[in-house]
């Protein structure tokens, strides 16, 4: 008898929760359509934090009659959420845009080309190692990320392509890479990004032999929206509001407005000084015109080709992909890199263009 009563109570509780849940969903539907943007800590993305805190985003969202939520994630988790379609837009690099959503069949569109790494990523060594002497030495890095890409590009640009297979890589979590590298003098090489780079080079025995300023425009930081969201009328409003808010925000950051810098630095727990130092090695496309020029040019295609070849040779496009052309990329001028029937990643400069012309 007792157990039966317990069962009924829990059944009631369950149905009550369900009921409340569905009521919530109904009331949410009645309000403005809501979109969620995910971002993670990085010099070029921290302004999203300021964009939200300052009310700039809300201002633009209200103008278009929608609601935009901004959520901070760990980088890997933000990508997982984007691929799982829990969020509508996400800040990511060109490489991850290709090997995470695009390769997993989630058609994605880059609507904002925010910046490129211009020294934020670096190959650091001890004992005067060079690219000639690097093969065979243990190299700590987060494998299968832009770090590994940077290392390979460094090897290639220094004429060591044939030695690529001899690199001895140790996959190291970014949470522990500084401690793990600095604590033991027998660790000779590490590839990582700022602000970790700054923490490591504070040790005078370590110096940089290669950084992303030698491969400008190859490590891009994008705002990527799911194409199916972009293809709805509300989705287009969302993209417009987001782009407009972004350029208002980033121009304040680029102009050195104190609140903009303070909040952006606080987003990653950095001091304003440290954040400014990171910005110096981040090539911001602060004006929509510069971003449009870059996205519409042919240079971006050459750089993306290097990235997609890297992704393919490292199996980052997945087991089932047997040709690099099976994850095709479409550019604003209509060019398609790869199989036209399998476009998965699109660069769309229309929203940035509208921002340039003041039509948002």
């Amino acid at each position: 008898m007792q157990s039966k009563r317990l069962g009924i109570v829990s059944l009631l509780a369950c149905s009550l929760t369900l009921l409340v849940g569905s009521l919530n969903a109904v009331t949410a539907d009645a309000q403005a359509p809501t979109f969620t943007v995910g971002w993670s800590v990085y010099a070029g993305w921290n302004p999203y934090f300021y964009m939200q805190k300052s009310g700039i985003l809300k201002k633009w969202a209200d103008k278009y009659g929608i609601a935009i939520k901004v959520q901070r994630f760990d980088y890997a988790a933000s990508l997982d959420s984007f691929v799982a379609k829990n969020i509508d837009a996400c800040a990511m690099t060109n490489m991850e845009a290709l090997d995470m959503p695009a390769a997993a069949g989630v058609d994605s569109t880059a609507i904002i080309v925010g910046d490129y790494s211009n020294g934020n990523d670096a190959v650091l060594v001890r004992d005067n190692l060079t690219f000639q002497t690097l093969p065979g030495k243990p190299i700590m890095l987060v494998q299968k990320t832009v770090s590994e890409y940077l290392l390979e590009r460094g090897m290639v640009l220094n004429g060591q392509q044939s030695q690529l297979g001899k690199l001895h890589l140790i996959n190291t979590s970014d949470a522990d890479i500084v401690a793990a590298f600095l604590n033991n003098r027998s660790n000779q090489a590490v590839v990582t990004w700022k602000p970790l780079v700054s923490q490591i080079v504070a040790d005078k025995s370590v110096h940089s032999i290669f950084d992303s300023s030698k491969i400008p425009g190859e490590i891009l930081d994008l705002m990527v929206v799911r194409t199916e969201v972009l293809n709805t009328p509300n989705g287009q409003k969302f993209a417009k509001a987001l782009t407009a808010a972004w350029y208002e925000t980033i121009q304040q950051v680029a102009a050195g407005q104190s609140n903009a810098l303070k909040y952006s630095a606080a987003a990653s727990g950095d001091s304003v000084e440290s954040y400014k130092e990171q910005l110096r090695t981040t090539a911001l496309f602060a004006s929509p015109k510069s971003a449009v020029d870059f996205a519409d040019g042919t240079d971006v295609q050459k750089k993306m080709d290097l990235v997609r070849q890297f992704c393919f040779t490292h199996g980052l496009l997945g087991q089932g992909i047997h040709s690099v052309d099976d994850v095709a990329i479409a550019y604003p001028n209509g060019t398609v890199q790869g199989n036209k029937a399998r476009v998965r990643l699109r660069f769309n400069s229309a929203y940035m263009q509208a921002a340039e012309q003041g039509k948002l």
């Binding site: 090997d99 890589l169 997945g318």
Partner: protein, 286 residues
């Protein structure tokens, strides 16, 4: 007529029914997985988050028959399946993780012996017990930077992480077992002219041994957890290393088989420990 009431302690389902009942939850899980997978693939045929059976099969094949990406080995065209298996990704990862696992398992033995002493010899108890009581509450993972200094980033820091994580718990557990041995037995052994070490090793150790093995069986999973944590933080091979790498591009088609493989390995180790225990200590009932 079988009694079908689930809330009756006396009721006993017949063999067939019992088998069927224990299969139910497995079937439900597989069914839910398949349903999710099919639903997601209907929406996006290339979905990698919940791979289909077909994708899983391809993942298993590449894990079992193809060499790891970082290896230079290229299988000759006429290589036998065995040859391919021996150079495969999963073989390599299992071997390196297995080595770390069994070395740490071996390193636990001296700690068990120490625990017998702590439980039995008051001087040892005074010296060690409080320390291990304190050390047991330390979260080993938070000591990583120190472990890196002391053991480097190679094999030893991972092994140390496992041992530091599991040994204090084992020690406290074994100490309790030793203390539970009736005092009368120890006194009796002394009256029969046993010396101190006879009592420690031939009376007490022998009789707690089956419990020690059971305690070890319970600690297999924490050991694997610590091993995984270590391999995910810094490694260039191993089962968790592969899972970490595959996660970078959502290679769930390889991750899921790996997870099941680890589960199977743990089950087999557990099963063999149980069998050994039963063979060696047929008198032990638990």
């Amino acid at each position: 007529m079988t009694n079908l009431s689930p809330f009756d302690i006396q009721a006993r389902p017949n063999r067939l029914l019992a088998q069927a009942l224990s299969a139910v939850l497995f079937v439900v899980c597989i069914g839910l997985y398949m349903q999710t997978s099919i639903a997601r693939h209907r929406e996006n045929p290339e979905d990698r988050v919940v791979p289909s059976g077909h994708q899983l099969l391809a993942g298993v094949r590449s894990a079992v028959l193809e060499p790891a990406e970082e290896d230079d080995y290229i299988a000759p065209d006429n290589a036998s399946t065995w040859e391919r298996l021996r150079h495969s990704m999963i073989w390599k990862d299992t071997a390196s993780s297995g080595k770390r696992f069994f070395i740490s398992l071996g390193l636990l033995i001296p700690f068990v012996v120490l625990a017998v002493h702590i439980g039995l010899f008051p001087w040892f108890g005074a010296g060690f017990l409080r320390f291990f009581l304190f050390f047991d509450k330390i979260v080993a993972l938070s000591l990583l930077p120190i472990l890196f200094i002391a053991f480097g980033i190679d094999e030893w820091s991972k092994i140390a992480l496992i041992v530091i994580g599991v040994a204090p718990t084992m020690i406290l557990d074994v100490t309790q077992m030793v203390k539970a041995v009736p005092q009368e037995q120890i006194v009796k052994a002394f009256t029969l002219d046993a010396n101190n070490f006879d009592v420690a090793y031939r009376v007490v150790f022998r009789q707690v041994m089956p419990q020690v093995i059971n305690s070890l069986r319970l600690n297999l999973k924490p050991m694997m957890l610590f091993l995984f944590a270590g391999e995910m933080i810094a490694a260039s091979d191993g089962l968790a290393y592969r899972i970490a790498i595959m996660r970078r591009h959502m290679g769930m088609d390889v991750i899921l088989p790996y997870v099941l493989w680890v589960a199977l390995l743990l089950f087999l180790i557990d099963f063999s420990l149980r069998t050994i225990n039963r063979r060696l200590h047929p008198w032990f009932q638990a």
